[in-house]
Symmetry: C2
Subunit: 259 residues, 2 copies
Amino acid sequence: MAGDGGLQSVRRAFAILDAVAAGGDAGTGVTAIAAATGLAESTAHRIAATLVSLGALRRLPDRRYALASRLIWLGAAAASASIDRAVPVLTRLVETLGESANLAVLSGDRAEYVAQIPSPHSMRMFTEVGRRAELNCTGVGKAMLSALPDDRIEAIIARTGLPQKTEHSISEPDALWAEIAAARARGWVLDEQEQELGMRCIAAPIAGPAGDVYAVSVSGPLTRITDALIERAVPLLTGAAEEIAGLLDGSRPPRNRPD
Amino acid sequence: MAGDGGLQSVRRAFAILDAVAAGGDAGTGVTAIAAATGLAESTAHRIAATLVSLGALRRLPDRRYALASRLIWLGAAAASASIDRAVPVLTRLVETLGESANLAVLSGDRAEYVAQIPSPHSMRMFTEVGRRAELNCTGVGKAMLSALPDDRIEAIIARTGLPQKTEHSISEPDALWAEIAAARARGWVLDEQEQELGMRCIAAPIAGPAGDVYAVSVSGPLTRITDALIERAVPLLTGAAEEIAGLLDGSRPPRNRPD
DNA sequence: CGGCAATCTTCCGTATTGTGGAAATCTTCT
DNA sequence: AGAAGATTTCCACAATACGGAAGATTGCCG
């Protein structure tokens, strides 16, 4: 093996998958892939073609590449064990705080809820797992943004804009950047009725070892997610984030990034 | 490139990921990986080590390998676009039949619900997306089993047994194999209160181009999922399976496999 | 429609990377 | 402690992957 990284061509294949994932849902051309990975265009083309034949990438009509279904399947298989291991952590959050706990993953330009332990209260925030949500107006979305490099955030905002779910949703880029800065400083974010009127949510980001990004959150109605509960919940939440990070391949919460 | 498959080492890396995915949640050793892929043990070891350094595999304390979180992330990113494209198909099913429609993926040894369009009826089957379910006693599970090679089915059964959710759940391997044979013959399966008392579900398998397996289903309470509705729904369901297969990288429904 | 620029695709000589057999090491069981 | 099986390391070498160059395609503009 040349160095500690193992097989060069396998590493390059994953770099190409990352570049395509970062390129957004409209697809990524060979020139952009080559630029993002530092590979020659013909090399990038050949590896991308291999990934297409393997079902990990697909070709769009305009010759761009997008992620494909073999990754869905492998991801689901990988998630089977990892999320199962996160469930007890979420469960303890719920038992301690009495509110719903969620785990989300950054999925394209949106947040996808991948696990939820519901609150025992009859009135609770109802989040369908598998549902995708905007990044700018959800706790988990803002938490995950805070774990991304600035240029990645800019690319996402350029593609998605800042969709409005309620009158409280963040509608100005400056306000979102301020939220991100605050999240980076204190390690958690608050969704103050931005996703849904009457609902409040706190969330903490989790960074995986390879650029994968998640968030864990606690959510419920405004009447119960008081400032006192938030104060009590934050250390538990950030502790849960750390614990889940450890379960997801020994990763750690993100360091602050003063880009 | 040697042949049409592209880079040999990238193909081998994915073959190793498949072998680890097929090996179950307890992990897979180098010798088993080498046997499953036909590679030399030292080659398999080196590629697996590369995948560990990339975050696609992780090492267990007993030196076995398991799928890791980079695949969750890539899978979620890939799912972002693919499932979005399947949602209109599910929606049309619901609008036509008036019952909930679901999309599930084979996730480890279980079925994971990845999308759901709920029925407009106030009493409906409530399936939390992201929830995992047993393969032997769910429509989507049995449908997906029917799309797998027999030896893969045997390995799954050996690991999971045949868990019982209701008194109707399939508890004998012979009965499950008969269900699988029937599913292969007609292209869809029926869950007759096996997952939940009072609930009925029909499901059709979808095979991806690279061994990835999904199922689309229509479900509801016994009182509404009548034989007449099933008769009416089956061609719509299998048509939806075909359509979703086409959206998931041009794949087609599985051919019968008379192993 | 033609021209142009940008992007994509193919080809090929070659050197670098990946290979697999053999040996060494580790782990588990009796 | 010994044996057997599994895992890991090493290294010579050949086969695979590489990238530059040339050719092909696409989209835009006048």
